[in-house]
Symmetry: C3
Subunit: 165 residues, 3 copies
């Protein structure tokens, strides 16, 4: 799928790589169906599959949650740690505080989900990962986690891969 | 404005699109003049206008706050929720704690704005959004919000659009 | 090093620049050796050097921490403020709470570092900065800070520069 790429001969150091070519952009969507109100899902393997299918060898992959109350972030895939993450979110943002967003006098939202908005804001709605050799760059223990914060729902991430194929 | 782009005929699935072409990069700035110390401004429409004006159809748009005490993040544009966001920031980072940054013995900053630095750190100073069909990719309720945390001030965001035109 | 770039003559406003050309991608790594358990390191100058060495004049630079317990974020380089940042992290995420990740009954991790995972999640593991005129775009007081949260360790950031050279 390579068009006009070429290894840059100036790069001697082993940690350095350089490439020049045309830009390829491919976009996909990734769905996550959740069963709990607050739920973490590891989508790393699915992101890797989409990157591989794009044919892009060097570049970036952008992950974007299409929802205000669904976040995407990096951490380890361990059940005990995921329980700690949920506990921290509950401590930092009390679901049952008297948030204005949950008050019919001030808000037309009937989901009573202010905590979900606030928790997603702290985790973030997107990630931009590097791609090399056709794979996302991740550390040994790093996994891409989607945080459902107002489920159960069906959620969509937009996945865009940009780079040299 | 297209140079050498071409739809990738291999992409059969309806959610998939792929394009190859030359890279176009355009940069602009966006100003926000604030009236309060802590204030949220919805700049979504202005970002959309800049993306449209760039001629880039597929790619990314990077939003970068040029200030340590001004953040940019995603959430819903609702007055009640914005009040909740301000309240959460006040709870998580107490303005009147004895921060060293506010102590003339340790700091040459006379703005007494440690809270603004810490709150911006939690919200983040930048976003990288996807662009498709000449528009930023956003979910139904997602808006791009600028958080003034040490106003009133005049603030600048750098907006860079990169992709295939 | 320019291949086929050209200033877009349509752009009259002083804040606007536009360029079209081939895509160059270069990747490097950046090491940070830490001496404390929680430690902030300013890597701005080293990122600037890598961007300059890449030959990319307009584009983006992605910084990615290869570790779950090491974050990268933007703030001012001031010793007093860095003390405040550490204090806030300690307040928001109590190291000595009974986290499940630290409990041998639930976790095979012997580092007892749940707090480091949770603190990194709040700061974020990556940044995507804009590049213009061969330099990262940063505000007057903005510095790129690496947060060691479970040191002392040797840490690696992957630095990828993408754009028009």
């Amino acid at each position: 799928m390579t068009k006009s790429s070429a290894i840059n001969a100036e790069s001697a150091a082993p940690s350095v790589s350089a490439l020049t070519g045309a830009l390829t952009i491919r976009a996909d969507t990734l769905s996550v169906v959740t069963a709990e109100r607050v739920e973490l899902t590891d989508v790393t393997d699915r992101v890797c599959d989409l990157v591989a299918a794009s044919g892009v060898r060097e570049g970036i992959v952008s992950l974007w949650s299409m929802h205000t109350t669904c976040a995407v972030f990096i951490n380890e895939a361990q059940r005990a740690l995921h329980a700690d993450i949920k506990r921290l979110l509950e401590t930092m943002v009390d679901r049952h505080a008297d948030w204005m967003h949950n008050d019919p006098q001030h808000s037309d939202c009937d989901r009573v989900n202010a905590d979900a908005h606030l928790r997603a804001m702290l985790l973030g709605h997107s990630l931009t990962l590097q791609v090399t050799a056709g794979e996302p760059v991740l550390g040994q223990w790093q996994r891409v986690l989607v945080a459902e914060l107002d489920g159960p729902r069906s959620r969509t991430l937009r996945v865009q891969i940009m780079g040299i194929s």
